[in-house]
Assembly symmetry: C2
Homo-oligomer: 397 residues x 2
């Protein structure tokens, strides 16, 4: 497998475009992905009881045999908008289908932005009208889905599966209200591999638990989280069978794409200056390992300490202790950026200059050894900064 | 029942003092409470797997028949300090017992401050030596237990129980690492009422769940949380019996003391400019109501919105939705400071000037009606500000 430069339209048979319709003041705010072949598809969604209208429409679309397009707007989440919201999401789906010449049931819809305001449908219509079907600029799609993100997030990988070169691309947006549970903010993955809906769904769910569900920016699970995968089979490989070598490779590709996107979302968390990775090893089970890792990167006190470049392991062990009251604190070992700070619960002295160098990097690795089993879990987050407070105190409704 | 001005030593037979020993640079850092009569006692403690040494010593002391004193230091949490930490906590207990002329098993120990540093025992000894037994200044105790608090927190109430005037006083410290679970940061309650250990413990636990366990500042559950109550019987009432009228009055007093202290801790959360109260009504059960209320006041996005004086109800309903994915969003009604912003999930227009006036107050009330049952739950938190980030990024270990 290798990573290449590319876009969400790098896999064969995919096209994408983005456009400024006026939902946002200046930046692009509407985009689509189109596959010239019907694509097998899978999706995972927010577990929030409050589900935005596009989530409901897209869940319905996934029940059909295939997807052929995804239409996305930013600037307005179309959430908590009642019956009108649902009508608007359906209208968006129909307009896109009509312009692309596909059935409306094969179009997924996603929205992100402010909660509780009705979608201005004239603007949406103008946006869909402005999008290109096969002559668009795929990178504009990457821009069109952003909200408070400071950069686009994409990754493209290639590998051989069952004798054919397969390409897989992913694009995501994140920044705030990021504490996914069963899904994340918006992420779209395209591939020209051939794999059937059911196996794709099962694989997506499994990898989501290890990647998107293991990031946190602010502990808030959004009403609009969605990850969609489209696999249009244009690579020409036979349908991937479970347990096969090709499946292993496909899973590896999907894992790289999803893990990298997840890390990009955490690193570009609102106001963040650095990515924090917590890896918990030798836990009694995988869920415990993941949960402890997520509590560490979710702790406001750990997040502010990392912002302040302070190796405050007291806050780390405190987070471990409340994450799982059944752990044995006497066995806990913690290192930061490879430097041990606590071994078997005994504080260690360390080279302060070296620690300082580690803590001013833009990626910080916290490693925890529980000495209580064989399982491992990793989570990603970011530091908590003045900028986070500024962004969210000044973002007025 | 009436609230009076007073101190932790207002109930008959109690004395208290505080002193600057040198654990902190300038402010008072050690204090004690002493009862001339053996007191029935009860305590609740952190559920963090990592329990500071003084927690272990005090749990042991509570197994004896009575308590006669509490010795407390700030500036150093004596947590994650291994075997030496335990020896130091025991030594602190013995020194205090000796100077007060009581048995060491009747002395509770509490510490708060930095995690992972050994207690400087010479300084502690100097501190205990400097404290007065019966001629101290009780208000100095209130000061001696503070860390990043900006003010002392105390309340004194009086009422008649079974024909005798009973006084109850409480003092607490909070500010950071506040997300109690089964207990809180340090809180000490004294009363001259007569009530036996077991009933006192049961009552304390019950009211803790509705008060201290319902506040959050930063979502981090400390290693040192502790609430202790001492009841020395000096008021002369017969031992309070469960289900009696006197018990109702005692419970009411304890609830007022604990709820007021809990709110003072939330309001004085690190960097906070305002207290946020969330009350959830018509929930299907009490636990759900409390949990949703706590998620609302714990949401970083709600907290920053309140700091920014933004009536962002989208973030409130989002928090409700992830707190309990089984609620019916169509039935949710939300008001802020008495102004309805959402009725049966329909956004309401409101007087923006009036809302602005509400949101710049130092107490903001969020009321949620789930229309799904009869139970109610309340939680208290504070806003998330630049100052919180500053305090915790600059607080170096």
């Amino acid at each position: 497998m290798k990573t290449i430069n590319g876009t969400i339209a790098s896999p064969k048979g995919f096209y994408a475009d983005g456009f400024h319709s006026g939902l946002k003041r200046k930046r692009k705010d509407i985009g689509w992905i189109y596959s010239e072949y019907p694509a097998q598809a899978a999706g995972v969604f927010t577990t929030n009881a409050v589900q935005a209208a596009p989530i409901q429409v897209t869940k319905q679309a996934l029940k059909s045999d295939y997807l052929q397009a995804i239409i996305v707007n930013s600037g307005n989440a179309n959430a908590c908008t009642g019956k009108n919201g649902l009508l608007h999401a359906q209208e968006m789906q129909q307009m896109a289908a009509q312009k692309l010449g596909v059935s409306s049931g094969s179009v997924a819809v996603a929205s992100t932005g402010v909660i509780g305001q009705e979608l201005p449908m004239t603007t949406i219509k103008k946006g869909i009208f402005g999008l290109n079907k096969t002559e668009g600029t795929p990178g504009h799609f990457h821009e069109a889905i952003l909200t408070t993100d400071t950069r686009t997030k994409e990754i493209v990988v290639m590998s051989e599966i069952d004798g054919e070169m397969v390409t897989m691309a992913g694009v995501a947006k994140g920044s705030g209200m990021i504490h996914p549970n069963m899904a994340t903010m918006l992420a779209f993955i395209t591939t020209d591999a051939a794999i059937k809906n059911q196996l794709l769904q099962e694989t997506l769910k499994h990898i989501t638990d290890q990647t998107f569900n293991q990031i946190t920016v602010d502990g808030d699970t959004s009403t609009n989280d969605m990850v969609l995968v489209m696999a249009n089979g244009a690579a020409g490989n036979p349908f991937i069978q479970k347990e096969s070598e090709g499946y292993q490779e496909f899973t590896a590709m999907l894992r790289v794409v999803m893990e990298e996107l997840a890390k990009m979302i955490a690193q570009d968390g609102e106001g963040a200056t650095k990515l924090i990775e917590a890896a918990v090893t030798h836990a009694k089970d995988q869920l415990t390992a993941r949960m402890i890792a997520k509590k560490i990167v979710g702790s406001s006190l750990v997040k502010t300490a990392m912002f302040g470049a302070d190796p405050n392991w007291g806050r780390i062990i405190c987070a471990i202790g409340y994450a799982d009251p059944s752990i044995d604190p006497e066995k806990v070992t913690i290192s930061i950026g490879g430097l041990p700070v606590l071994i078997n619960s005994q504080p260690q002295s360390f080279d302060e200059m070296k620690m300082r160098e580690i803590l001013v990097q833009d990626k910080i690795m916290i490693l925890v050894d529980l000495q209580d089993g064989t399982k491992t879990g990793t989570a990603w987050g970011c530091d908590l900064t003045y900028k986070y407070v500024e962004i969210n105190a000044l973002y007025h409704t």
